[in-house]
Amino acid sequence: MALPKVGYPTYELDLPSTGKKIKYRPFVVKEEKVLLLALEGENEDEIKIAVKDLIKNCVLSRIKVDELPSFDLEYIFLKIRAASVGEVVNMTITCRDDGKTQVEHNIDLNQLQVTKPEGHSSKIMLNDTTGMIMKYPSMDRFVENEFLNKAIKTDDVFQFIADSIDQIFDDESVYDSSTTTKKEKLEFVESLTAKQFESIQKFYETMPKLQYSFTVKNPNTGVESEYIIEGMQNFLA
């Protein structure tokens, strides 16, 4: 937990995953520089460290930032950004109907909310008795997706899913990281059927996400088009 900085305003937000209130402060020019330097260098480790440090420094409440799901981190980061740089992000939208007319559109970051699709659950039943409790992607994954544009390779998918398993259970026992090795989890994932994989895919597809939809009217043709943007990178692109 970062020490409070005297002379800066503090704000509160509700964590989308738990509803818990956390306090945060805006970042200052010096902290902006650290992230700008890291982004300019394009070094993966430096960017991860810079983003982690920025969030850890600005969150004043006692929470484990490393363990938060990515949508919580996206939400926190956008809130910190809104308090530090400004609440309005100006975007230039290319109208879909003619593909060339450009329209300015302002997004108020305070209006952004994390949407939770109905029926989404972190508990995945693989058959009548056996199932898994999944964890949401970690902070490292969040940084890779949002700042490094790093796509997941096919070979990494099994590894990624194995890392995301919190618990495996059957009608007799619960297996978590204290009783199961990473290798065992990986072997378990590799033994799943295509149908069982679909359930896992559904978990990721219906994960809560930061989403904003809006319509833009083409001033030349009068045609309205709907746009949906998701994830922090899209908001700030």
Binding site: V29, K33, L39, S84, V85, G86
Partner: protein, 60 residues
Amino acid sequence: MVFQNSLEGYYKTNFALMQYHKYSLTEIEALMPWEREVYVALLKQYIQEEKQKAEAAASQ
């Protein structure tokens, strides 16, 4: 962009504030980014007003 500034813009703005307007780097780095934008906007407004005054005085 995650931030309004690029790294180049960041250094240019800070340099101009230090070189022409007597800010110290410590003061600038302790500001919030939106605060620095406010000061830059106010400075622009001040320079514009001074320019107009000078032009008015020169034309008389």
